[in-house]
């Protein structure tokens, strides 16, 4: 049997798990697993918000991808610039090409601040390490006024992150004894402050208790950097002194450049089999796809196992029966050592969670044990 070739694009949580599980499952003479990553660094994105609020050091969120991969996985540090489904090849920026029998696209979402005029000049965010560090300095210098928290557009990664950030702002300025000088105004693109309806009442209570003002159905259309206002496509205008806005997102550039994406650059992917709709030998994993679940590390984590099983079945000539059930779970930090967790899938909405210490501790523990348990595929 010829050695089968599996290529994984992207060394985030999903890509790393798939590569590790397949390298564990197959001997080198059976399958060669190659992971391509632009930087060779694995970044734990849920920690960015804590960098902004001065509670985590950036270096604790970054590890060498090589150290998280099994020895048998070949790591190529490089950038995929074109995918050729007909020739089953991925072309890299350095001119080389990788042939594949199965390809996994796990490149994540791309931040595209330039899509909203004025964004780069006016807005702060915590969706990259650089952004989080810049926000940290802005918060440190802030002595009072109105902070507007919102999202530039949907979809965006980690749907609870903006409301979590509003809670963290309240907690941060309370600790700094400046809370009475800071107004926090949360603008939600949806019909309620929290995306998931069963969890919304809990978040509304937190907002009411901590004096966080909210406006619903506010989908940003423009920023006026001179007047310091944000205007929605629904026609409302809101002033800000400090603007915390999740940046616009698109799918992966190579997906767009190869003509494989939809209008937003997202990869059309079957939500159960995770095979791309146009090419069943290519799998879509995590944030870069159009699968209708939260763009989150947890979703990528659960999807990775389905994809590893499906590829193993394909390579051994078995029917691939693994299906992704839409499972997502996450922890949110509401400040004051309180948290909420939620777990849901395509068939089961989240159960309204109690707010408490237990889920806050859960989040803190996950932030530490992630490196030991998740990328290896052990859990």
């Amino acid at each position: 049997m010829a050695v089968k070739k599996v290529v994984v694009l992207g060394g985030g949580v999903g890509g790393t798990i798939v590569a590790n599980l397949l390298a564990k499952r197959f001997r080198p003479e059976e399958a060669e697993v190659t992971l391509v990553d632009k930087t060779g660094k694995h970044v734990y994105q849920p920690g960015f918000v804590y960098v902004a609020f001065g509670r985590t050091k950036p270096k604790s969120l970054v590890r060498d991808e090589r150290k998280l991969l099994r020895k048998r996985v070949r790591l190529v540090i490089g950038e995929a610039v074109r995918i050729d489904p007909a020739g089953r090849k991925v072309h890299l920026a350095d001119g080389t090409a990788l042939a594949y029998d199965r390809l996994v696209i796990a490149l994540g979402a791309r931040l595209v601040p330039d899509e909203l005029p004025g964004y780069a000049e006016a807005a702060h965010h915590f969706y990259s390490l650089e952004g989080a560090l810049k926000l940290k300095e802005a918060l440190r210098a802030f002595r009072g006024g109105r902070i507007v928290v919102t999202v530039a557009s949907v979809p965006y990664k980690c749907p609870p992150a903006p409301s979590e950030a509003a809670c963290q702002l309240d907690y941060y300025f309370t600790k700094k004894k400046l809370r009475d000088k800071v107004a926090i105004h949360f603008l939600s693109p949806l019909s309620r402050v929290f995306p998931l309806e069963p969890v919304n009442p809990v978040v509304e209570q937190i907002f009411a208790k901590h004096d966080i003002q909210s406006t619903i159905f506010f989908n940003v259309e423009s920023i006026d950097t001179n007047a310091k206002t944000v205007t929605s496509i629904e026609g409302e205008t809101v002033p800000y002194d400090l603007l915390l806005m999740i940046p616009p997102h698109r799918g992966a550039k190579v997906v767009e450049d190869s003509g494989l994406g939809d209008r937003g650059g997202w990869l059309p992917t079957d939500k159960h089999t995770l095979r791309t709709k146009a090419h069943p030998e290519i799998f879509g994993l995590g944030d870069c796809t159009d699968v209708p679940v939260s763009k989150s590390g947890a979703a990528a984590h659960f999807q990775a196992k389905v994809i590893a099983e499906s590829i193993a079945a394909d390579l051994t000539g078995q029917p691939a029966t693994a299906r992704y059930d839409g499972h997502v779970m996450c922890y949110c930090d509401a400040g004051y050592h309180k948290g909420i967790s939620m777990s849901f899938d395509y068939e089961h909405p989240p159960v309204p969670p109690p707010l408490g210490l237990k889920d806050w501790l859960g989040k803190m523990v996950l932030n530490k044990v992630y490196w030991y348990l998740v990328p290896s595929g052990r859990v």
Binding site: S153, V154, P155, P189, L190, S191, R192, P195, L196, E197, F217, N219, I233, E234, G235, R263, G264, K271, P292, V293, G326, F344, Y346, E347, P349
Partner: protein, 79 residues
């Protein structure tokens, strides 16, 4: 009458509210004025959320069509 080829279909069945509304907002932002979009939702919350948002955002709800296990919301982008 709009032919099926001209319509942009957003299948958000199995996605809980606000998934279908998010799909529609995303679709509307990417669409051109005058284009017709159709979002499919199996979530009951969409029956309230989607028409409410369409009205607030100033688009046209062409119709809501009930299928055995989901609803199709047909929307025309007006602005």
């Amino acid at each position: 009458m709009v032919s099926a080829e001209q319509k942009i279909v957003l299948d958000a069945r199995g996605s809980f509210c606000p998934g279908p509304l998010m799909e529609l907002i995303r679709g509307i932002k990417q669409a051109k004025v005058g284009e017709v979009l159709e979002v499919w939702s199996s979530d009951q919350g969409s029956r309230k959320d989607i028409p409410f948002w369409i009205q607030k955002a100033g688009h046209e709800l062409v119709g809501v069509f009930e299928e055995p296990s989901y609803a199709r919301f047909v929307v025309k982008k007006l602005r």
